[in-house]
């Protein structure tokens, strides 16, 4: 997969999801300076943290958008009965 320069994680925060649980909202910054939010559930968030070797949310900053894409895709394949 090609690396798209400039599309990186700008930050992440915990937020209240519509369904009443906590979610991780990852903010992506594009090379033109525009940003957008991607909400991740518990499994996708954990996969993202792991793939970025991050133990804090701050350590996600600067990671490529592909990590978010991969975490989303992989989360759907991960059966985890303990996810909320």
């Amino acid at each position: 997969m090609a690396v798209i320069a400039g599309a990186v994680i700008n930050g992440a925060r915990v937020a209240a999801a519509h369904e009443g649980h906590a979610e991780l909202v990852v903010n992506i910054r594009y090379s033109n300076g525009g940003t957008s939010d991607v909400p991740l559930g518990a499994v996708a968030a954990e996969l993202l943290m792991r793939s970025c070797n991050a133990t804090t949310l701050e350590q996600l900053e600067g990671q490529g958008w592909q990590k978010v894409q991969a975490a989303l895709i992989e989360s759907h394949n991960t059966h985890n009965e303990r996810e909320q």
Binding site: V14, A16, A17, H21, L24, T56, Q84
Partner: protein
Amino acid sequence: MLDIVIKNGRIVDGSGMPGFVGDIAIKAGRIVQIGRVDAAAERVIDAEGKIVSPGFIDPHTHFDAQLLWDGYAKPSIEHGVTTIVPGNCSLSLAPLRAEHRMKLVGMFNQIEEMPIIAFEKGVVWNWETFDEFLQRIQSDLSINVAPLVGHSALRLWVMGAAADQRAATAAECEQMQDLLRSCLEAGAVGMSTSFVDFDEKMQPVPCRYASTEELDALCATLGEFGRIVQIVHEFYDTDLTIARIDQLAELSLKHGIPTTLSPLFVNAGDFDGVDRIMARIDHQFERGARVWLQVQTRPVDISFCLEVPSLLFIRLPSWYGIIRFGSREDVIAALSDADTRAQLIAEAASMASVWARLRLRQVSTEANQALVGKTLEEIAELRGSTPIDVMIDLSLEEDLQAHFLAADMGHNDVAKVGELLAHPHVHIGASDGGAHILSFSTFGDTGHLFRQFVRDSGALTLEQAVKKITQDTALIWGIPERGLLQTGYVADITIFDAGTIDRGPEYFKQDVPGDGYRYVRDAVGIDTVIIGGAVSYQQDSGYTPAKEGAVLPGPVQAL
């Protein structure tokens, strides 16, 4: 002889005009006089010191299943709601062929958390068409119902197994149009569709496989009746929301229909996004489109128990590591070990204000039942402990099944939400009444509106707030003869105390068929609710046997 006279109330008639003191006379289900009424009546209701308003209308609900065993749609009426709109988000229980019943049940279970056993115990499946469904519920209605037809249900009926595989052919689109037309003629208020929901197999719901041409064709049919389309959009993203606003605006202008999308949440740190969305809404209204954005009044809560990992702990690496990766036994062992516990408590100090405000929602042991509903700070005081210690202790006492609620964690900026609710192009709704029953209560948003945004913050006047959830809603949705206190209109009336109206605390109640539970809230400050001219609920005596609810707008009369 009049049926009912409401005496000496402050009449806030739903128009937004200043309230005034007066009487209202009711005869044969309708308002026959407003002002000073001296004529005799079979029943006189003293409303002195109370507000007399049109009954509230809840435009975003999922009571479809509940209406099959509960024609009151409890506890909506006791919160002052006299009309509900079920069938949102592409999901309706009609039209529905017998062979698709379990598919729909699975979708309601997945999306709205309605337990499958509730359908098994509470539903006699004796309908297929929309007309048959309306006849089925109409015989037992206390509340008014303005039902939407679900786009996913239309697809299932026409396309069968292909409904969640592909776009419809031109012939299938025509069949769906014919089917929608028959539903509208039977009394449907409009059609709903979704761009975000998943079915029981975690695949996109059938309507998400529709092409724009299919949606356009169905909106053309809605246009024949001037009826509304509701969508649930990708509410987590500003640009996607704006794209859907533009899509709805084109459908509105092309077919002459009202449209509505829900929900919009105010996300912390993204007020610019909200402002961009509202600027786009304003732009589309300026063009002549009708795109009503629904905003809910209540904040979003987060609930959790330590048996299931919650991202609430992701900023606490030790906690998250144990809860996320440990087995149940590991978690219990960690919380029970004095050294580990001390380390966890030290780490959690950075979120001390969150723990103090946590509320205990649910426990299994009898010993702790009395603590349910209290904050951890309150329990800590009772136990001579600290909130974080209490969270750990209760979790251990309950075998990790102590459930906690972190209230007001999202959509909680009172000033910004209030600004939105008061906006002339914002439609107050999105309650989701009857849905998510195992996660949180969807009841009492109207009480919260008056307490939080009228009484406390003053974002809206009482008259504005009443108008927003009565006349505005009736006009947006094309619900006839409701939403105003006006001579000749149907007598749907809510009497409440402006000084106390609120939503009560959330609690778990066993009232779902199959001995099931759900989260509910009682009402505060609602005195009397009249539907179709009959008293349906009174604060002192509860629900009455009245069954004057109607299907709205009802069957289409031939011109």
